[in-house]
């Protein structure tokens, strides 16, 4: 029941904000709900997996347990950040009720995706995350943010339309064998073998393309840098660290079901999308001078690495999950830090920012650590994740992909370092006096940092077991 509360709790809290008296305490409600959701997520994560319940529509398996334990604490961190921003910036109080209501609905829908045991419920919940996130991207009085929000909404709609088209094709492939189509994930496991025909192949290809678009993979990735750049930092963190993982869980479920039937198609499509994404993001990282866009392109790059890891499967799976979980914390740290830096310097131009360690020590530190983690340095989980994916590439004989991966990662490393390092260590350009950064403002990022280091140095056995279970479900034959 605790898992159902993860959906109903935030949804009820969001509805409660319709009452004016509660709206006045919106940020408090946000933090309190996020805290309760985090506790419940850990209860679910530590409890054993359950079979389908609620007429078979809900299931708590290893994948849901792992990702509930990742996205809910990240949401809590973002909530604390928002609470602190509103408390220190009175101008932000206007419209905060709307933000909190949408953010809580977003959380409810995200948790619903993780718990759903039915492809169509999963689709509706994923679409609900888009419908709640799109208005959050809009900043009052900024037309470019409206356009970014539209493009995000349009691309997400197309992505999910492709997924729906894929679902219908899969249903037809099952029907072709005179079987009754089912959309329950647990039942699909037993009939997935029927999808070996052309309808099944087409359905799977469309679903992967649609979900890849939702993850920001090439060829339909252009919405991502625009949306991440224009959205307020807290919303960018929601999109990058939470929605990304929620969409990825859907892809993991699809791959788990259909890799045994079409192993070649899964590998080819994911590796191709991953490599092209890495190429376009590397070129864009070299060209951009916008701090948020740089992190956005790095997100596309990471999505590419994840797609390659997932495409290869086998021994890459464990590393892939380590990389995915670390990546969620890295994005949360970097986007929230970018917001703090922009709020102080009033610019996103990397050439205008220098000497962060001297001027904004907390932000400088977080940007430094986040960048090292982003670039896959030890001792972070992203390093081990990348290493395991590379080793699996060699082990599975994908030597061309291995070589291209190494070249692109090196280019990304040089381009990111060239832009970010002067921001951290350079000499401050102007002598500013900043208001002192409070511990509370740094608390969420400290928590993310702690999680990131733990994933790299010592993975608690309970987390390790969960990661291994999820890895086993996606590694394929």
């Amino acid at each position: 029941m605790s898992s159902l509360a993860l959906v109903l709790g935030p949804a009820m809290a969001s509805l409660g904000l319709g009452i004016r008296r509660l709206r006045a305490r919106a940020t408090l409600i946000l933090v309190a709900t996020a805290l309760v959701a985090t506790v419940l997520a850990y209860v679910s994560a530590l409890s054993p997996s359950t079979g389908p319940f609620l007429a078979g529509f809900v299931r708590v398996d290893a994948t849901s347990r792992l990702f509930l334990a990742v996205i809910n604490p990240i949401f809590l961190g973002i909530s604390v950040y928002v609470w602190n921003r509103v408390a220190t910036t009175p101008a932000l109080e206007a419209g905060i009720g709307r933000f909190v209501a949408l953010a809580l609905t977003f959380l409810a829908a995200s948790n619903a995706v993780l718990l759903a045991n039915h492809l169509l419920i999963l689709w509706i919940a994923l679409e609900a995350t888009t419908l709640t996130a799109a208005p959050l991207i809009v900043r009052r009085g900024v037309p470019a943010s409206q356009l970014a929000s539209f493009r995000y909404f349009l691309f997400s709609s197309i992505a999910l339309a492709l997924v729906m088209l894929g679902i219908i094709c899969l249903a037809r492939s099952i029907e072709a064998l005179e079987l009754q189509p089912t959309f329950f994930l647990d039942k699909l496991e037993s009939v997935a073998g029927a999808c070996a025909n052309n309808w099944g192949k087409l359905g799977l290809a469309l679903m992967i393309l649609g979900l890849g678009t939702k993850l920001g993979l090439a060829p339909m990735y252009s919405w991502l840098p625009e949306a991440y750049d224009q959205a307020p930092p807290a919303v960018t963190a929601l999109l990058g660290a939470i929605q990304f993982n929620v969409a990825l869980v859907v892809l993991l479920r699809v791959v788990h079901l259909f890799r045994p039937v079409h192993p070649g198609l899964v590998t080819f499509e994911l590796v191709a999308m991953g490599l092209v994404s890495m190429v376009v993001s590397t070129v864009s990282i070299i060209a951009t001078r916008n701090m948020k866009r740089l992190i956005a392109y790095a997100s596309i790059n990471h999505a590419g690495v994840i797609a390659i890891g997932l495409g290869i499967g086998k021994t890459a799976s464990y590393g892939l999950l380590l990389y995915v979980v670390s990546n969620a914390f890295i994005k949360a740290i970097l986007f929230l830090t970018a917001g703090k830096i922009k709020a102080h310097y009033l610019t996103k131009d990397t050439r205008q920012i220098a000497g962060l360690l001297k001027e904004l020590p907390y932000s400088g530190l977080f940007l430094m650590v986040g960048t090292f983690a982003l670039l896959g340095f030890p001792p972070f989980g992203s390093f081990f994740g990348e290493l395991l994916i590379l080793s699996a590439l060699v082990g599975s004989g994908h030597l061309f992909v291995f070589a291209a991966f190494c070249v692109l990662i090196t280019m990304t490393f040089v381009a990111t370092g060239r832009t970010i390092f002067p921001m951290i260590w350079g000499e401050p350009r102007h002598s500013h006096t900043w208001p002192r950064q409070t511990f509370l403002s740094a608390l969420p990022k400290l928590f993310f940092l702690f999680a990131l280091v733990v994933l790299g140095i010592y993975i608690p056995p309970v987390v390790n077991r969960l990661v291994q279970q999820v890895a086993a479900s996606v590694e394929g034959p």
Binding site: V82, R85, V86, T89, A91, L92, F99, H118, L120, I121, I124, E127, A128, L131, A134, R139, G141, V142, P143, A144, Q146, L147, S149, F150, F153, L154, S157, I158, A161, M164, L165, I168, A171, R172, E175, A176, Q180, P181, N198, W199, L202, P232, P233, A234, V235, G339, K342, A343, L346, T347, K348
Partner: protein
């Protein structure tokens, strides 16, 4: 060949050549109504709430609500009549017609027995491909919305041909709600994006505004 499917194919193609926003919206509305008629033909007597809901979705929501929601905005803005959903040149028209032929060969490959099912798959595939052609060639928000809605309608058509598409009522309601909210969002975006100038000057001025 089913005359309703032939009419649907015509409704998919004609607005590409008659380049006005009114014809695009009229075409969208006709798609919805024709799909409702096809659904009625496939299930002679709608006897469950789900059957009626599917008819309302196709005939009322896709046939009237969606096009009228966008029509109201463009009419209030006194938008000039001309609106190309694909570039008005021989290459685009050839590509569009090529896509129709490709869809029919594609349906032949997918559907084992030729007949109504094959035509339905071919028309649905034509709708999806032409929708993507519109999306790929236009950057104007209205045209992109038309492209997206054409794709959504074609998916609904493919769903109709599914012999076991008796989905639970809650799911049908959920899908309908998602489509209605999508239309509301499109209408909202059309209002804001056609009334304000989107540009660099305003954007750079906004950098100093506090954000969450």
């Amino acid at each position: 060949m089913n005359p309703l499917l032939v009419a649907l194919l015509g409704v998919l193609l004609i607005p590409l050549f008659v380049a006005t926003w009114r014809s695009s919206l009229f075409g969208l509305g006709c798609q919805g109504v024709l799909m409702a008629l096809i659904a009625r033909q496939l299930e002679s007597t709608p006897d469950t709430v789900g059957d009626w809901l599917a008819l309302v979705d196709l005939g009322v929501v896709r046939g009237f609500v969606a096009p009228l929601a966008l029509y109201g905005v463009l009419r209030a803005r006194k938008t000039p009549g001309r609106n190309d959903v694909i570039p008005p040149n021989l290459l685009s028209w050839t590509i569009a017609l090529g896509m129709v032929l490709m869809s029919f060969s594609f349906a032949e490959l997918l559907v084992a027995d030729s007949g109504e099912q094959e035509t339905l798959v071919a028309v649905a595939a034509t709708g999806v491909l032409l929708g993507f052609l519109v999306l790929a060639t236009q950057s104007d928000p209205f045209s992109q919305m038309i492209g997206a809605l054409r794709i959504e309608n074609s998916i609904a058509l493919l769903e109709l041909g599914d012999k076991h598409h008796d989905w639970p009522l809650a799911i049908q309601l959920g899908l309908l709600a998602v489509f209605l909210v999508t239309i509301a969002f499109f209408r909202g975006y059309l209002i804001t994006l056609t009334s304000r100038r989107v540009g660099g000057v305003e954007e750079s001025a906004s950098v100093g505004e506090p954000t969450l």
